[in-house]
Symmetry: C2
Subunit: 705 residues, 2 copies
Amino acid sequence: MSRPSLAEALFRPRAVALIGVSDDAGKTAGRPLRFLRKHGYAGPIYPINPNRSAVQGERAYANLGEVPGPVDHAYILVNTPAVEAAVAACAEAGVMVATILASGFAEAGPDGRERQRRIVEIARGKGLRLVGPNSLGVVDTGAPLALTANAAFAADALPRGRLTVLSQSGSLIGTLVSRGAVRGIGFGKLISVGNEADLSVGEIGVALADDPETDAFLLFLETIRQREAMTRFAALAHRAGKPIIAYKLGRSAVGQALAVSHTGAMVGSDAAVDAFLRHHGILRVDHLETLLEMAPLVVGRKPPARSHVRVGVIATTGGGAATVVDRLGVLGVEVAPPSDDTLAKLRAVNVPPQSGPIIDVTLTGARYEVMRPALDILMDAPEFALILATIGSSAQFQPELAVKPLVDCAREKKPLAVFLTPQADETLRLLASHGIAAFRTPEACADAIAAYLAWCEPVPLVNAEPRTLARATAVLQAAAGDVLDERQSLALFDAIGVPVTPSHVLHATAEPAALPFPFPVAAKVLSPDITHKTDAGGVALDIAGASELRERAHALVAAARNHHPTARIDGVLVQPMERGIAEVLLGYHLDAQAGPVITVGMGGTLAEIYQDYAVRVAPVSASEAAAMIEEVRGFAVLEGYRGKPPGDTAALAEAIAALSMLAALPEPAVLEAEINPLIVKPAGQGVVAVDGVVRSSRTSPSPPR
Amino acid sequence: MSRPSLAEALFRPRAVALIGVSDDAGKTAGRPLRFLRKHGYAGPIYPINPNRSAVQGERAYANLGEVPGPVDHAYILVNTPAVEAAVAACAEAGVMVATILASGFAEAGPDGRERQRRIVEIARGKGLRLVGPNSLGVVDTGAPLALTANAAFAADALPRGRLTVLSQSGSLIGTLVSRGAVRGIGFGKLISVGNEADLSVGEIGVALADDPETDAFLLFLETIRQREAMTRFAALAHRAGKPIIAYKLGRSAVGQALAVSHTGAMVGSDAAVDAFLRHHGILRVDHLETLLEMAPLVVGRKPPARSHVRVGVIATTGGGAATVVDRLGVLGVEVAPPSDDTLAKLRAVNVPPQSGPIIDVTLTGARYEVMRPALDILMDAPEFALILATIGSSAQFQPELAVKPLVDCAREKKPLAVFLTPQADETLRLLASHGIAAFRTPEACADAIAAYLAWCEPVPLVNAEPRTLARATAVLQAAAGDVLDERQSLALFDAIGVPVTPSHVLHATAEPAALPFPFPVAAKVLSPDITHKTDAGGVALDIAGASELRERAHALVAAARNHHPTARIDGVLVQPMERGIAEVLLGYHLDAQAGPVITVGMGGTLAEIYQDYAVRVAPVSASEAAAMIEEVRGFAVLEGYRGKPPGDTAALAEAIAALSMLAALPEPAVLEAEINPLIVKPAGQGVVAVDGVVRSSRTSPSPPR
């Protein structure tokens, strides 16, 4: 008998051991035995309990050594202090996967982190793989396997389906199963990954990417751990044509803090997470029920073309449709009236001309003979990427009128999203059974439509130019410490391909020589120890000539010494005064969750207050950088705003792409780089970096993961 | 027998006539007879149909003249062209209220508007009041009266309750009734107000403010019509202790456009609507289901103190609670951990110390003996304004563990919001029956909590100073046309109490005399025909002395003439160069829906791009103006941002309050006034208006409603 694969050991184990299972079937540690039996697991189940000869009426074994056959998957149900011994026993016994229920590990402070490190070490030594700790278990409705302590599995039936759930919250798998049951939405595999001490969402996803029983993946995420595995999972799932839909906490500061305390996750910026998910072709939903409801919009489909994003709307209730359309407007989705051609076709089937984007069939009568041909026409209409149908009261008592046409219409051509205004569970089940995405709330419906239209192909790898990388690496290696001063930073930006303003260093003791560029100039004190030069009185602008430069350079150094007596001062940096249309902030950093990201926005106080930045996983191409520029609202000033000339956005895009290549550098890597400001000149005249700072991993112990 | 009141005629008519009722009980025009009978209306029903002697098996009358008794309420079910005659017949017959089903009136272009005007004229002449047109009817579960064509009333039972619904969308009353039924949430009165040609939400609300069977009002709004009546309704409902909760479309441009096309409503800004609702103490919810779910949070309560806005969280599922808390964070609601005192009390009942804001009882075991005392402690904890409880899987199968404590705890002290993560309809009904606000989605739950915490007392009237108003009126009356030039505008601002910079007019032909203020100065061309002076080359800044002023004044006039050859040029306005911490935009206008509003934000391009403004119904007090200043994110620059001195926000608040007094002026009224910029100087040094424009109703035909 060959050794099972990871996916088989997880979801189709030949035998299961329940370590520390309780005799009380109502207790958390007693439920897995009850649920395995209730839902008909076919293989041997070995309850392990050294204190009892029987558990819940079944024979119990004192330890794993006593069980009569091999165990593929053990569920460790003992208390926190006993977990380590149980893991060691599983490792000794040749168990393939152990899932751990207990909490009190990485999420519980330094002691917990140490406990978690030890169990991983024990398991790794013997090839044992771990799920959890803090895992409510593993379910496969097809096996069937309900190896879980989640109380929701007390339900009599597990609706089967082809959606696989990977969740960092254990209780959420129960939420989805119980809410799905009443809707006729079933699941294939569900796994509560807990702390991901060993097996992560990414690695489990990789193991399931080719699962013939999975059509799509639903993720409930609190953080992103093991980024590389997540990246592989996304790529494999995409290749297999299986969309990944994610609901992720941490959109607010309090939510990010929760992720930390709850399962010991690391904090990063939500905008970076958003960029990471989009980069890898993962759809992100904003509402919890959208995670349950939206899969039919994407199963078997590819991301829509970016140019094809209009939504067509048909309704038997204008007010009901307006609740979705208004929200789509808030989300920036384009809801459009039909073309003249489509309107003519609709008129031919007795749907009267409409003003506005909602095709309201109420006037004609919400009947099959009207709805069916109208829907077929909309499904064929080239102007629409997706059709939204909103059905009113008839959905509850007369589904034959306006709901049956949804089932019968030519829907293979584009996604159909349905919002039912009344309580109509039976109709929701009917639509689910036909693979139609139906929504209970206008908000989840709009959320799903927006997520579908924002869905992108995974971004292809951007290749770096080896000579550029070599030049940049040389600059980094030449720098003394981990924080580069302004001159070194500008040298790095120059090496990586960002235009920088020329600069000339006056040494504090020497007389200024002739400058290699004309006046007027700017002068700044040069010191690795002074980061806020303006606050330290270390910046002088608009210097008109040599004598003024001499005077003000002395004054700068004196002010800086006064402000910061112990700072090393390497001289005064002189640059031409650069002017342009706008001052831009361009940043690169390693995000705790998302990894290397590039950020661009307007410079200055207000942009900082409004957090108006575009973020992408680095490196990016110049065309992706151009898309970033379009996202920043403040860059309206670069489009010839209020009579100003347009800015050189092409050069800005090139500069963004160039700086993003920092992600391709080998060690010593750049942890953080900021150009502030990058001056954008009128179109055709380029951009130029005039100030910036870089922090590298050169003397840091290790980069943040 | 005395004549019934409006509320009685609407909801408790002694007899009902159905004009044009169809024999087909399944057709829209046939349903009202079926639903009246089904739900047990006790009074006489007179079907009116000149073509049939019987309708749906009941005796039909050829016209209203034939019916044997008085009719308090008629439902006109005929087609659009026949409505006018039916209204005339009702008016003749002394019917008190006629509800009109047909569409094709104000929402359908000029012809429809004319049709609507005529029926109102006919009705007014005879004291007949109208509901609609475009009304799906009137329901009173207590009467019982189901005078409606909404298909949702085919349901067998109408759950009774003490919530009254006033809806501009007819189908929405069916949505609420059918969704409420499964939740155990019942309604008292429901009315579909349609186009509000005569009776508006406001007037119907006034008639029901003292209704002993109503605890709270739910409004579904597409627009605000008859603002004065709405204002009266809000005041009376507040006095009667009956909260008003509104869901209003129009948050997006496409949503606002829909409101227009759908029922002929007028468009206004959503921010102004928000301000209007808040001003009158009306709660606004963002999610449709919140309208159904949130009433128990507010019934019998007063708005919370503004300083008391923290939410305490208890949960049997950390992940489930995090979905609500994360969203509360996005909405800016403060979720706080318990105080040390509360933590000590919790420890005493065996709830272990918690890190972070969620009190997760999972570890202790989600049992009654833990939840009940913990909830009582939180209800007593003075740091929390509201408690959120999130219950996981046990809510579905074991409500005795964590749900029963919610029912039993000491909840009179503060509102309790409950989010159940599993599908648990029975538990939702249990909670509803005990008057506990329970939510199906984390998003609606967070929305309701945010709405509760934002709930304010209606703002008291701000009194204007009569002499100030008289001065301002004199300035307005002295102005020649409806658009005031800059000098006249500044004079008005001065008269109303806003500090303005001194100015001096140089007449184009004369030699400049000595200025009444020192150099440097700014100069602008003075013309009622040139609004964008900078674009016309009509502004010069930083003029150092008299000879420079002479030269540049000539150049300004020449440039303006060149740019705008037909413009009347009245001279050149000279002002001191004013400098400060920030340039602010201060505006006043008559909003189409909300009426007079005052707006404040940062001046300049970026603030315009980010739409970062605070809006209030005018006039406002200086303390309300101070609250506006705190809302504008860009005003962070006035708080001593990045080493700058703080700005004079007290003087800014006084200026906002002063300009808002324009709302108190008699005719000729100000339609629109903008100070741009108002310069804010360092604290203690005041503010000063340097430029602005005013449009009055002086020569305009009439102000927008």
